[in-house]
């Protein structure tokens, strides 16, 4: 709560900067238009012109705001022109991919922690997999899945999964290894089985790491869903909006889709944060 004033200050500062930047960035076009119409621009004319272009290089905040308002509040949410509808499409792929990525990530992490061969062989390849540009792979993934008759939500979710399992693996390997030697020795003195050690020690000890990586994974998953929406053709979802906006030079539409995506990510991450706080509190680990 105490951060409200600083946040508002920073937001205000960013808005001011944004408005200011819009002027020089959109000015060349404004001058062009003026020249063609053969009029001289005063400074106020210029500012007014740069903040109200149809296809600005940098739209003014209020333009994005108006577009957001018109495409969310003023549209029926089942309409194809509603940003909420597209956000929902993207969100469903995001959540599915996030779920799959989390499960895959945890399974890999358990394998790596419990199996020496996996520990030594898998990790470098997991890292390498993340250095492959996903935008190059995404179409192939879509096509291959298409070929075996899978289309719609799942291919996008697979790409989400591809991006989101990585932070989970890294975090969970660290987390599952976070119990101290002494704590493991204690389990040993009680002759606890491997599964008892996992459920009663390694897993609870890894919780803080899990939640931190889940937050990163959620953001990555959203990016994955959007990337997955590009090569499936501009069908629907925020990615399609970005794409369509880009083909028709609709900067404002791009920006509003962007802001929507960021807001979506922020909400989901905040949700994970909330769950984290509840779980860690019940575990007595809240800070």
């Amino acid at each position: 709560m105490r951060s409200i004033i600083p946040v508002l200050t920073v937001v205000a500062a960013i808005m001011a900067l944004w408005y200011a930047a819009a002027v020089p960035m959109n000015a060349p076009w404004a001058y062009d238009v003026a020249k063609r119409a053969d009029i001289e621009l005063t400074f106020t004319d210029l500012v007014a012109a740069t903040w109200s272009q149809d296809k600005p290089k940098l739209p003014a905040p209020h333009q994005v705001g108006v577009e957001l308002w018109e495409t969310t509040v003023q549209k029926n949410i089942t309409s194809k022109r509603s940003l909420v509808y597209h956000a929902w499409i993207t969100l469903s792929a995001t959540l599915l991919g996030f779920g799959m990525g989390t499960v895959l990530g945890i399974m890999l992490a358990v394998g790596i922690v419990y199996n020496r061969v996996m520990d030594m062989s898998v990790m470098p390849w997991v890292i390498a997999s993340q250095t492959i540009p996903i935008l190059a792979l995404a179409p192939m993934i879509i096509v291959v899945l298409n070929a075996v008759g899978i289309s719609g939500l799942l291919p996008k979710a697979v790409i989400s999964m591809y991006l989101s399992f990585f932070p989970v693996v890294v975090g969970m390997v660290k987390g599952l290894r976070s119990p101290e030697v002494m704590q493991l020795d204690q389990m040993h003195t009680w002759n606890a089985s491997a599964s008892q050690t996992f459920w009663k020690l390694r897993l609870p000890a890894s919780m803080p790491y899990l939640f931190t990586s889940l937050k990163v994974a959620m953001a990555a998953s959203l990016v994955g869903a959007i990337v997955g929406e590009l090569p499936t053709g501009a069908i629907s979802g925020l990615g399609a909006r970005l794409l369509a906006g880009s083909y028709y030079g609709q900067t404002i539409q791009i920006w509003s889709a962007l802001v929507m995506a960021a807001a979506l990510a922020a909400v989901m991450v905040a949700l994970i944060g909330l769950i984290q706080r509840i779980v860690l509190k019940r575990m007595g680990m809240a800070t």
Binding site: R81, A147, P231, G233, S246
Partner: protein, 304 residues
Amino acid sequence: ADDVTLQLKWVTQAQFAGYYVALDKGFYEEEDLNVTIKPGGPDIAPVQVLLGGGADVMVDWLPSALAAREKGAPIVNIAQPFNKSGLMLTCLKEHNINAPEDFPGHTLGTWFFGNEIPLLSWMGKLGYETDGSEGGVTIQKINFNVDPLLQKQVECATTMTYNEYWQVIDAGLTPDDLVVFKYEDEGISTLEDGLYTTEENLADPEMTDKLVRFVRASMKGWKYAEENPDEAAEIVLENDQTGAQTEKHQKRMMGEIAKLTAGGDGTLDEAAFDRSAEITMEGGMITKAPEGAWTHDITDKALN
């Protein structure tokens, strides 16, 4: 009903009105077909979808189809609804480019994905280097929109008569501010939106039969669209799932598209094919004249 899946080369827009009209007006149904239309996008190569089994027919441009064929993809043109090219190069007048002689020293933006071929052939014909060296031009890869032209990052940009050109106009420029070079006029046009399928499909009589019916219904759709452009545009808008298209733009696009399909019945014009293949070869996209890359079988059966 028999299932047929069509893979488009681009997003849902009036460029593909014929197919959407056939779907919407029940022409496919009349042929006992159950057609699915898959929109395309920038990163999807329809050939891959076709070969991967994700589609039975695709819309593609001839140069990229020939290139794919040479790469080992056994695809064949079965019909050619577009008999004119809509490709052109649009320059801002302020850069003083009024004729091909003025190109040297300027930056020309084009889409890649095979769309650069006609431009490269053209430059080759004009005798200009394309690497930005003295006396040549600079070729710049641009995204699929006209921003680089408007932002003056390039001086000329590839546009389609039916789409990007009008985006330039919508941005506030007038035709007087522009100089356009139509590929059709420069004698370097290649065949655009045609229908392609695999050799494997053609070897299968059942499949051929489906394709015959598909082409017949599609051409019916095209003719309907030509005659009722506004209604066709409405149908396209209804099928656009992004909700990003505008009515004004699609109606105008349909008007332009009709000019490209006018006068054709879907049968491939061999002369046009040979010319396109030659230009593609000059551009270096293929190395030898293609063989068996087209067939009249389907159109012959469909139209009689």
